[in-house]
């Protein structure tokens, strides 16, 4: 009896504390001081753990994608950026040199900071942690991409780690432009609502725009390059889903980047001086 009362009191205290945390963090729009503390606290640990777990993750990923056609596709998609990123994957010691090369040679003229994905969010969220933070010059709302295309945007930055909201997350929305045209729209992640995942939902702002499967999308670009810089390849339209007569045209988009198998990514710390338009799409 007595200990039950005490136990329940303790339970109530803990639950109230949790609710208080929820409200605090809710008021701050999902980011609070606690998150910063978590970044500082867990970031270095996760960084260290990343070295251990990277081979493990690579192993499982290799198992999951042991498909000849996919390998062929990946090889076909080897552009210069990807080649250098792959080399970066092989050797940490080459990171700085590759980073410099990337900055010089990237088609879009982005200045990149390369980083590796070291952790991922839970079942419901598409977020990852990368092993670069404010010490590497990364700031919130910077675009993250890899050799294939758009990955996401940085949401919070710790000293040595950053959290990236993937474009496939249900809460992410990216302004896009149909390659070769000026038709603009927005893509939203489908999160985990669809089996097979990793599809993006495109909504064009114009009801009369021409849209057909196979069209490529690049980012439209935000003001100041945040949260998304212009010209980053996003994906290709695979299915038109809009109903006749609807005000907007919607479609499903297959992203260029493989969100479930992210390894090395680059964070754009400075947008190009001029909009690269569709030039970065060359590899696709």
């Amino acid at each position: 009896m007595h200990e039950n009362r005490r136990t329940r009191l303790a339970l109530a205290v803990l639950l109230v504390a949790a609710i208080a945390l929820i409200t605090l963090s809710y008021r701050n729009g999902g980011t609070s001081g606690a998150n910063g503390a978590g970044n500082s606290l867990f970031g270095p640990v996760e960084n260290a753990a990343g070295y251990v777990t990277r081979p493990i993750e690579g192993f499982f990923h290799a198992i999951g994608h042991d498909d000849a056609t996919e390998i062929a596709n990946l090889q076909a998609q080897n552009d210069q950026l990807r080649a250098q990123l792959s080399r970066l994957q092989l050797s940490q010691s080459d990171a700085r040199q590759l980073n410099k090369l990337l900055q010089l040679n990237a088609r879009g003229g982005y200045r990149l900071v390369a980083a590796s994905v070291i952790a991922a969010g839970g079942s419901y969220s598409d977020t990852v942690t990368i092993d670069a933070g404010s010490k590497d010059g990364i700031q919130p709302e910077e675009t993250v991409l890899n050799g294939n295309g758009l990955v996401g945007t940085v949401t919070s930055v710790g000293p040595a780690t950053s959290t990236v909201l993937l474009a496939s997350d249900a809460s992410a929305t990216v302004g896009v432009r149909l390659a070769g045209t000026n038709t603009i729209g927005a893509i939203t992640g489908t999160g985990t609502t669809m089996a097979g995942g990793d599809m993006l939902r495109l909504r064009l702002f114009s009801a009369s725009a021409a849209l057909q499967p196979g069209d490529a999308l690049v980012t439209f670009g935000s003001v100041g390059g945040r949260p998304y810089v212009a010209g980053v390849p996003v994906g290709t339209v695979t299915a038109i889903t809009s109903q006749p007569g609807s005000l907007t045209r919607t479609a499903l988009v297959t992203p260029f980047a493989d969100f479930s198998g992210l390894g090395v990514v680059g964070v754009v710390i400075a947008p190009p001086r001029v909009d690269p338009r569709d030039s970065v799409l060359g590899g696709h």
Partner: protein, 525 residues
């Protein structure tokens, strides 16, 4: 060492689980777009092996860690809330079940197959994990998390629960193995280490106590044996009264004002939980009729902090495995006692070893007297003692030798009660409370069942095979005049009939064969 384990194992598991979760598990390209939640599994495993308090603490800490560890994907506190509730629910449910069911129906534990004990709490864990996943989805819906919409939850939840269930046995086994030494008596909860006692053979041993072996024959299965003891005579209550007291190692006082400080145990502290000592018990007040019998108290301690007491020994070394007859251990896991109780602050509570009469054929029964030992979990919380719950040791046969003329004092809570024709069939809780008035709470003084000589550690024998099984053992009691102050019978006994006091028989007990058909714990009736 054990304390260290209790303090370090849960945090270590939580930290490892958080890191493994975010760094490996979340990145696995598993079908179904879901991943198992290792932290939740660890929390549930800690809860079912430790109890509600360790469970909710682990849940809050683990959930908060998940909330703060990058990548942060939800509001801080969400996971802490869910896991905290889940930890409490798992712990409370496991503890509840370990006590033999809501009504304490006798037979529930007895009928339980000894089986691999580690799996006994698996259903609780699975249920808790499933509910937690659902609660998390519901909380996300309530908070309008854009990711956790109805379709998303419907898509993820089944796969997540399936993965959790698949990983549950592994996590539970790991946690139970790591916490093995840290949790004394959660035998039923499966925190035992298999190597310590062969399954199917329950050995209750009074470690460190020089005692005889109370072992039944194969038919009269009282496998309650005081292992680890040498067959040296025990001093036993002269008129054997069946007061098997499952008490804490030392229970200083139920109410400090009225009770004396516990006398030191005669048994090496930490060694034996079969403790005849009267440490912590109060002598009867002068006006009370005293029994000439000293009850034997088998103390299933919650374990004092030195870790070697009572329940610890019982649960881990001995009872841990397959107690066929429902000797269940009780202790709460790592955190309970150490967090909430001082080393000596524990006193016997309900859930101490208790015997039930309802199951005459029970394993501990010999000769038709069903004695079931149920050690619940002492939670180690200070406070008033609780009423003896259901299922205290109740021999259901009428004692052969009882002096009918005397009214017996009602046993204090936790004493083994004999139930017979003249006795109330069952002690309700209220009855127990009524008998719990201070004048009735007199308790045996020290000195019961103690080893005549200190037992050398070298003589301890692990309950290996061949122990206590099927050997008609003899218990040798030394007659001793009960000291004064023993168990006074209160004038206002409302319950209890003559079988509690066997005061008139002060004859010493000689060598008495056990297995003669009665379970004799501390005396014959």
């Amino acid at each position: 060492m054990r304390i260290l384990r209790r303090a370090l194992v849960p945090p270590a598991f939580l930290v490892l689980a958080v890191l493994a979760q975010v760094a490996i598990v979340n990145r696995l390209p598993l079908p179904g777009d879901a991943v198992p939640d290792l932290v939740l599994l660890v929390v549930a495993a800690l809860a079912v092996t430790g109890g509600p308090v360790p469970g909710m603490l682990a849940g809050f800490a683990g959930g908060l860690a998940l909330d703060l560890a990058p990548p942060v994907s939800n509001l801080a506190g969400e996971t802490a809330f869910v896991f905290c509730a889940a930890g409490y629910a798992c712990g409370a449910l496991a503890m509840h079940l370990s006590r033999g069911g809501p009504d304490g129906k006798p037979g529930t534990p007895d009928t339980r197959d000894p089986g691999p004990p580690v799996l006994a709490s698996l259903p609780v864990m699975v249920a808790g994990v499933g509910l937690a996943e659902a609660l998390r989805g519901g909380l996300g819906l309530m908070l309008s998390d854009p990711r956790m919409t109805g379709p998303a939850i419907a898509h993820v939840l089944p796969a997540a629960v399936i993965y959790d269930v698949l990983f549950s046995p592994l996590v539970l086994w790991l946690v139970a193995a790591a916490m093995g030494a840290a949790e004394p008596a959660s035998a039923v909860l499966g925190a035992s280490e298999p190597r310590q006692a062969p399954p199917g053979r329950a050995v209750v041993r009074a470690a460190g106590a020089g005692g005889g072996i109370l072992a039944g024959k194969a038919t009269a299965v009282p496998r309650l044996s005081f292992a680890d003891t040498r067959p040296a005579p025990l001093r036993a209550p002269v008129p054997p009264s069946p007061r098997l007291r499952l008490a804490g190692q030392s229970s200083p006082s139920l109410s400090p004002a009225k009770r004396r400080a516990p006398a030191s145990s005669h048994l090496p502290r930490g060694a034996g939980w079969l403790q005849g000592s009267g440490g912590g018990w109060q002598k009867a007040s002068p006006g009370q009729v005293r029994y000439s019998v000293r009850p034997v108290r088998v103390a299933f301690g919650s374990g004092s902090r030195d870790g070697s007491v009572g329940g610890s020994v019982l649960g881990n070394k001995v009872l841990g495995n397959g107690l066929p007859y429902g000797v269940r251990g009780g202790f709460s896991g790592a955190l309970g006692p150490s967090l909430f109780a001082g080393p000596d602050s524990r006193k016997p509570r309900r859930d101490w070893l208790r015997a039930r009469a309802k199951n005459p054929a029970g394993p501990l029964t010999s000769g038709g007297t069903g004695v079931r030992l149920l050690a619940g979990r002492p939670n180690g919380v200070r406070g008033l003692s609780r009423a003896p719950g259901k299922g205290w040791l109740q021999p259901d046969k009428q004692p052969r030798r009882s002096s009918p003329g005397r009214t017996s004092a009602s046993p204090r809570e936790g004493w083994i009660r004999a139930r017979g024709a003249g006795a109330p069939a069952r002690w309700g809780k209220s009855a127990s409370w009524s008998s719990g008035t201070p004048e009735h709470r007199s308790s045996p003084g020290k000195g019961w069942i103690r080893p005549a000589k200190p037992v050398a550690p070298a003589r301890r024998k692990s309950p290996g095979r061949g122990w206590l099984e099927r050997k008609p053992a003899r218990i040798v009691w030394q007659a001793k005049t009960p000291g004064r102050g023993w168990l006074g019978r209160g004038s206002g006994l409302r319950r209890g009939s003559g079988r509690w006091r066997s005061g008139s028989r002060a004859h010493g007990m000689g060598t008495k064969p056990l297995g003669s058909g009665r379970t004799r714990i501390g005396g014959r009736r």
